[in-house]
């Protein structure tokens, strides 16, 4: 990893710590709740950024993967398996410690999956789904790819909405916390707010390290070649289908992980999390941030999600996203952070471009 990336990561880590200290100092700790949620959404966004920015493949179905992760984990950890104790399979799960007992609000004992196996099942399921869906979907291009992924998202939404085990329109609630390590629980518990904030951003940092390493490897170069021109990449001996599938599955797993953790953090999940608008919103954030760079979408994701979660946009929430999306795509298709404001202004006032600029472009 280059020194520049290490510097960026250190800056992000420092910022995360500074923000926490700032909220502690100004006694605005309630901001940490939204910042934690934002961190989990960011996990999804950096994954999608890899798919859209580096490999150049659009996905309008990522809320579906988020939903698969969140819903499976929520259903397994909150569903009570106690009535099925006589079933040999359930017995097998109990004897292996996969099912654990806990008491609910009314003092009754519930028997449900421990979050770890539930998480592993959810991620494996996402992995398999993304793999199976990815093989045919990624053969498509342009409009067809967009519609196919959108269709996948809608199917997940419809299935969730129509399945009783997933709570239909009400979604699932009373999802227990996720005990990562003894004493370290991902939950919306008021006392554990600061811990959770650090856990969430720790995941984001880990994710970024992983993705940055990937982009600077053989795989990353292959993906950029695919983005540039799929035919050319293929001619150079890059197995385009395989690399596209890898990155699709990877970004789906990122989305599912975000879903699992956010569900345990919020203590519930609803069908709107899997809706089309959510997928569109993720795509919007990635495109606004400028696609071929993890930091742009991350920054825009934090800003926009913060405004949205704090309710600053009111009932104009989706309108704001729509307008920003259109404006960015019309005037700055490479993202607003890549809009070279200085050179634009200079060109505006002094129409002859400076001598050094063409050289800089080549570098």
């Amino acid at each position: 990893m280059s020194t520049k990336n290490i510097f960026h990561l250190a800056a992000l880590a420092a910022l995360v710590i500074l923000v926490q200290m700032g909220t502690a100092w100004t006694e605005t700790g309630y901001y940490l709740t939204q910042l934690t949620m934002i961190a989990y959404y960011s996990l999804l966004i950096i994954g999608l950024c890899m798919l859209m920015g580096y490999a150049g493949q659009i996905s309008l179905g990522h809320a579906g993967f988020f939903g698969i992760g969140g819903y499976i984990s929520a259903a397994l950890t909150s569903h009570n398996f106690a009535p099925y104790q006589s079933n040999p399979f359930v017995n097998f799960l109990i004897s292996n410690g996969l099912l654990v007992g806990r008491t609910d609000l009314y003092g009754e004992t519930l028997l449900s999956f421990h979050p770890w196996p539930a998480c592993i099942i959810a991620i494996s399921f996402t992995f398999i789904t993304a793999f199976i869906i990815g093989i045919p979907v990624l053969k498509l291009k342009g409009h067809y790819l967009a519609m196919a992924t959108l269709g996948f998202g809608i199917i997940i939404y419809r299935v969730v909405l129509a399945t009783e085990a997933f709570g239909e329109a009400d979604g699932l609630s009373e999802v227990p916390g996720f005990e990562l390590l003894p004493g370290l629980v991902v939950s919306g518990d008021f006392d554990a707010r600061i811990e959770n904030y650090y856990i969430a951003w720790g995941f984001v940092l880990l994710g970024i390290v992983l993705l940055l390493n990937l982009t600077n490897s053989r795989v990353g170069r292959a993906l950029r070649a695919i983005h540039g021109s799929e035919e050319a990449a293929q001619a150079m001996g890059v197995n385009t289908a395989r690399y596209k599938l890898y990155i699709f599955v990877l970004s789906a797993v990122f989305a599912a992980l975000a879903g699992v953790f956010l569900t345990h953090y919020n203590g519930g999940v609803g069908p709107s999390e899997t809706g089309i608008m959510k997928s569109v919103r993720y795509v919007a954030i990635v495109s606004i941030g400028g696609m071929a760079n993890i930091w742009g979408p991350l920054i825009m994701g934090v800003i926009l999600n913060f405004m949205s979660l704090r309710g600053l946009l009111g009932s104009y929430d989706d309108v704001v996203f729509g307008v920003i999306l259109i404006l960015v795509m019309l005037f700055a298709p490479h993202g607003i952070l890549r809009l070279n404001v200085w050179s634009r202004l200079r060109l505006f006032f002094f129409p002859t471009p400076a001598k050094s600029s063409p050289l800089k472009e080549n570098q």
Binding site: G142, M147, L150, I154, V159, M277, G322, I326
Partner: protein, 296 residues
């Protein structure tokens, strides 16, 4: 299954199928002249219904519908002029995101103008309980209105594209834009006109379906996806095939209710879309060698 029940499903299938076909033709018209899929196509259907309901408070029904169609056509033209006309050969990804943005914008504006409530135009003839007896089953006269109007639209469009000079110019535009420009056809105006036309027929479909399916601010998305499925099923750009594909999808959907729960109806039609995309992306009636030359 009794004959009456069979006829009931069949009519439901034809009604929805021909509506999907109309939306699909809207997709095709814009796709043919510009090479882009207008993801906001479903919003034209919703707008048509909503505007007609608003005008219906002031004018008699036929006038309200004509005004609604014309207003939606103007909106379609305005969208093209503001967002698309001045873009210089934009990438497909960029156009997808822009049209999705436009559809969000229209939907949310509709939410702020008309609210969340479900509305409907009055029945064109009779009311909710009046019925016509055909093939041993009772169907609403509105169903006949839908089938009739949509058939007229299809016939008029094919006459328009075959026998009028404007229609021929639009076809020239879709065949080869550069050559059309060389022949003195103003391709930019043709694109604006294609947006108007597809907004107009979308709006008309929205008006005739409103009494049966109701109109709500977010109703456009579902129609757009079904319409797109049908457009793909028939082969993108082929309007006559879209009618056949629309009827096919509508009838499959209607009969699927007798097998699986209603809640999964959308999932079924989208699964059909996915399967078609995977195995025959050029559509049932399309030719693969032609499709390969096109840019999706």
């Amino acid at each position: 299954m009794t004959t009456a029940l069979f006829a009931q499903y069949l009519f439901a299938g034809i009604t929805y199928g021909i509506l999907y076909a109309i939306v699909a033709i809207g997709f095709n018209i814009i796709y043919n002249t510009t090479g882009i899929i207008n993801f906001a196509q479903g919003e034209f259907v919703m707008l048509g219904g909503m505007i007609a309901i608003t005008f219906n408070a002031l004018f008699p029904l036929p006038v309200a519908i004509i005004l609604a169609v014309m207003t939606t056509m103007l909106i379609g033209a305005a969208i093209e002029m503001i967002f698309i006309r001045w873009l210089d050969s934009p990438s497909v990804l960029r156009m997808i995101i822009i049209t999705i943005g436009i559809s969000i914008l229209i939907r949310e504006l509709a939410l702020h103008i008309w609210g969340e409530s479900v509305r409907a135009l009055p029945y064109f003839q009779g009311n909710e309980i009046s019925s016509v007896r055909i093939l041993g089953t009772n169907i609403s006269p509105q169903v006949l209105w839908v089938i009739g109007t949509c058939s007229v639209i299809v016939v008029c469009l094919s006459i328009f594209f075959k026998f009028t000079s404007l229609g021929r110019e639009m076809r020239a535009c879709s065949a080869n834009r550069v050559a059309a420009t060389l022949c003195g056809i103003d391709t930019k105006n043709m694109i604006t006109f294609s947006f108007m036309l597809s907004a107009g027929i979308g709006a008309l479909a929205g008006c005739v379906m409103s009494p049966i399916t109701y109109t709500q601010y977010d109703g456009g998305t579902g129609m757009a996806i079904k319409g797109f499925t049908v457009a793909i099923l028939g082969g993108l750009g082929n309007s006559m095939a879209a009618v056949a594909a629309g009827l096919l999808l509508g009838i499959i959907e209607a009969f699927s209710i007798s097998v699986v729960p209603l809640a999964f109806q959308d999932a079924i039609s989208i699964s059909i879309l996915l399967i078609i995309l995977f195995i025959r992306p050029h559509g049932i009636f399309g030719r693969s060698d032609i499709a390969r030359l096109k840019e999706f």
